[in-house]
Symmetry: C2
Subunit: 199 residues, 2 copies
């Protein structure tokens, strides 16, 4: 008996896609859909920051001032769509997102947040010291608005949030071949179920 | 006075992105987010099939048996996320989708549906004669399930639907540069408004 979660069966397929598409920087980009308070979908590109081990949670980062934070706080359900151009494989990962911020008390999650922060580039870290995302362009009024001191890699800014996407349904579609191959993985109380479906 | 709609101001930016990324087949792929009846987001890759002229509606195709048809019928709000890898530009197009099927009586829309059908490849047309998408894989039980006669390019199958995405908000983010450039276009009763915002 162990309390280390099993590696989900779709993990090996995703690892293979990441490996086969590694020459494309943007193969680590995926589109994250959320739902707004007025029940409209919202969709944007995010960067995959690796899995939080052990387990099957995908790490994504965001600014606490971004719209998706407010959306996820109200409705944690998301679906990420991840297309790998080189091998023509799509993964749809539906599940829920947990938000890890400076006030999160769980030590493991806080350590994960600090680790991901420490791996960011100077430019990426600086973005968290910039003016409010989506507000009227600040440097029209103040040319120094984006001229910030680069935050240290050892201390995440309060505006830095780690998002943990826990899939409960993964839909893989391989476009190569005719008909295409498609399989759906569904998480149940006893583990992951897998079935082949029509494309 | 004219009843021909103006070209929206974001159209030239999108046309430029399509042109500059034309060497990548998958630069015509975008991710379409919808909302399910139980208020969860749904997200998948679709192919841009050009604009319906005149106007600013994006054409997308789907099978009437797909989940997104049922979702859009209940909640027509969508957001498409379109990332152009070569020039590192993202467009988020929020708006509503109208569904054009074999029973649509509007002659202009029906003609558009037939035109898009006529441009599809043999393989793409055949897909609409295949078994129910997402159902248990049919050729496990019946090896001929996908061995269909190719439908004629002159007569769309009933299962072929044209989706028309009418954006009311377009958010363009140019990742090149530091800070990045971001602008939001919003449709109002009098036309499109445009503002520069913080990335």
């Amino acid at each position: 008996m162990t309390d280390i979660p099993d590696l989900a069966p779709w993990r090996s397929l995703l690892a293979k896609a990441l490996h086969q598409n590694r020459s494309l920087v943007y193969s680590r980009y995926l589109q994250l859909a959320t739902v707004t308070a007025d029940r409209k979908p919202s969709n944007r590109t995010v960067v995959f920051r690796g899995f939080l081990n052990p387990g099957n949670r995908l790490q994504i980062i965001t600014d606490t001032r971004s719209e998706k934070i407010a959306q996820i706080a109200v409705n944690p359900h998301v679906e990420a769509c991840w297309y790998f151009p080189k091998t023509r494989v799509q993964f749809r990962l539906a599940g829920t997102i947990a938000i890890v911020t400076s006030t999160t008390t769980d030590e493991t999650l806080q350590a994960a947040r600090q680790t991901v922060w420490g791996k960011l580039s100077d430019n990426a870290r600086s973005g968290f010291a910039w003016p409010q995302p989506g507000a009227d362009r600040a440097d029209c009024a103040d040319s120094s608005a984006f001229d910030v001191e680069t935050p240290a890699p050892t201390m995440p800014l309060d505006k830095f949030a780690l998002l943990l996407l826990e899939p409960d349904r993964v839909d893989q579609l391989q476009l190569r071949g005719n008909p295409q191959q498609r399989q759906i993985f569904t998480r149940s109380a006893t583990g992951w179920e897998q079935r082949e479906v029509n494309p």
